[in-house]
């Protein structure tokens, strides 16, 4: 049995002549802290979309914890513990913070199929949701609509919802994207404090975050893996330097 949390084999995706994923072999270890970096347009978000089922691969296989998931729907993959966050916050903006997280927990537990009893009846879920907000500093805003919160706080809610689903594999798509510098600290701390048994793959441009958190780094360029290795190896690799030459550092 494979000890890999997530694996892709020969993953390819093309839109006509446009190749967004070019024979990607990728392995995510259990409990990993793995970063996926690359210039804009390299296909990092497309990779996440392929893995989570938003895009259908042209060829190749995706395995979660040793089981093939290539044919499963998005929701089915989530049920097996593959959870993602979005680069541009995709929350229920008009609903409250607490409601956002509670919805996720209700799905996880299956109570969301219950149309007989009022939602308030499932108090344990609401308590769990609230308790998830506390360490993220969101508890004081639990009853406010998401749209009223600062963007950095909204990115935290993304992470809260992801954690609410008790993921085995967590894909963070640029968790600090669009967040003003003074608020990124909280996000970095949160990522550092993620439970060690969750395998985390995160896409980031913020190199400070990458080098602080990642144990392994994969560099993606034009849909293909350029190199993969430890942070030290990547920092010294001349090919990587070439790719990033001229790219502005965060």
């Amino acid at each position: 049995m494979s000890a890999l949390a997530l694996e892709t084999r020969s993953l390819c995706k093309n839109f006509g002549a446009l190749l967004v994923a070019n024979d990607i072999h990728f392995q995510l270890e259990r409990g990993a802290r793995h970063a996926l970096i690359g210039p804009n347009g390299a296909g990092k978000t497309s990779f996440v979309n392929l893995v989570t089922g938003v895009l259908t691969p042209s060829s190749g296989a995706i395995c979660l914890g040793g089981d093939e998931i290539t044919g499963l729907t998005r929701a089915q993959r989530v049920k097996r513990g593959l959870v993602r966050t979005f680069q541009i916050s995709a929350l229920f903006r008009k609903l409250t913070v607490l409601e956002n997280v509670t919805l996720a927990i209700a799905e996880r537990e299956g109570t969301a199929n219950d149309l007989l009893r009022p939602a308030g009846h499932h108090r344990a879920l609401i308590e769990e949701a609230y308790d998830l907000l506390v360490p993220l500093g969101l508890a004081s805003e639990a009853l406010r609509p998401v749209t009223e919160l600062a963007y950095g706080r909204q990115r935290m809610i993304e992470i809260a919802m992801a954690l609410a689903l008790k993921p085995k594999v967590l894909l963070l798509d640029e968790p600090a994207a669009g967040v003003p510098p003074r608020e990124t600290g909280a996000i970095i701390e949160t990522i550092e404090r993620l439970p060690p048994d969750i395998a985390v793959l995160f896409i980031e441009h913020d190199m400070e975050l990458v080098f602080r958190v990642a144990q392994r780094i994969t560099v993606l360029v034009q849909g293909a893996v350029l190199v993969e290795g430890s942070p030290a190896q990547i920092a010294e690799d001349p090919k990587v330097r070439q790719v990033y030459l001229g790219e502005s550092r965060h």
């Binding site: 989570t52 729907t73 998005r74 929701a75 089915q76 989530v78 049920k79 959870v83 993602r84 979005f86 995709a90 929350l91 229920f92 903006r93 008009k94 609903l95 409250t96 607490l98 409601e99 509670t102 919805l103 996720a104 209700a106 799905e107 996880r108 109570t111 969301a112 199929n113 219950d114 149309l115 007989l116 009893r117 009022p118 939602a119 308030g120 009846h121 499932h122 108090r123 609401i126 308590e127 609230y130 506390v134 500093g137 508890a139 004081s140 639990a142 009853l143 919802m161 689903l165």
Partner: protein
Amino acid sequence: MTVSVSPGSLEDRKAVIDAFARRHRFKWYEAIPWVAAIASYFAFDSYHALGAQMFATILFALSLDLLIGFAGIVTLGHAAFFGVGAYAAGIMAANGWQEPLSQLLVAAVAASGVGFASGLIVLRTAGLTLLMQTLVVAALLQELANKWSSVTGGSDGLLGMKIDPIFGVFRFDLYGDTAYVYCLVVLFIGWLIARNIVYSSFGRSLTGIRENPNRMHAIGAPVDGRKIAIYTISAALAGVAGAMIAQTTALVGLNTLALSKSGELIIMLVIGGVGQLYGAFIGVPLYMIAQDRFSQIDPIFWYFWIGLFMIFVVVFARGGVLGVCGRLLERRSSR
């Protein structure tokens, strides 16, 4: 509900969770429509027949609100289910089965069957294509009713059906006394069902589907299945409403399936306010009473003015009556 700023205190935690968990509790003002309805029975003695039709229409509008206001499914073919329910009751009555309550049941089953089947097809699409498909389903059923005249009476419809007394005791008469109470009770039950769904976990997930379907997929929700479920339930309620109209007016025609019926319904709902459970209770009476007044002055003008009014509401008074009131209340409280 004010919560103090210091996070983590146990009182705050309990306060927040309580506030959230108690949203479904009945509030005092929710009794207003029912008190008003009972009072109107006595106050408006000669309008019982109109009142009965109003209650049936409110149930119809409520079922549409579940789709548009809560699940975010915009449909212009809801009359399909209304008409199926009406014809179910009418055909049963015309063929000798005249017991009203069982007619309601059959209407609900028939309409939900049509809702389920059409939902499987229609809900695969979105936006204009979905809207169009809902129109086509209703048009298809209307054409079916038109051509299958041996069963449905064709373009003449079914007339003068006799309905048995309820429980063998309460007879439907010309004055509409029985009809008024009957429709009010059925509406009450329908409202309880709708309200229950809205406040359930299922109902909350519908709100999520409305707000951000992609996000719902990303938290593992079976979005398609949920949409079909609410579509079917909504169709059942609409079917019951249709049956009630058939029973209380002793008349079923092609207009029960018409686009104008769906169009008028959506207008009634929007006037009151979408997605707030009570929009139907405000919009339907306003519309029907205004239409009743207007038809005595000048029936031709009605469509013209209601059309203009609709445009006005969309551009200037978004959210209908409830929306405008909500904004006014917000402004007052923030002063």
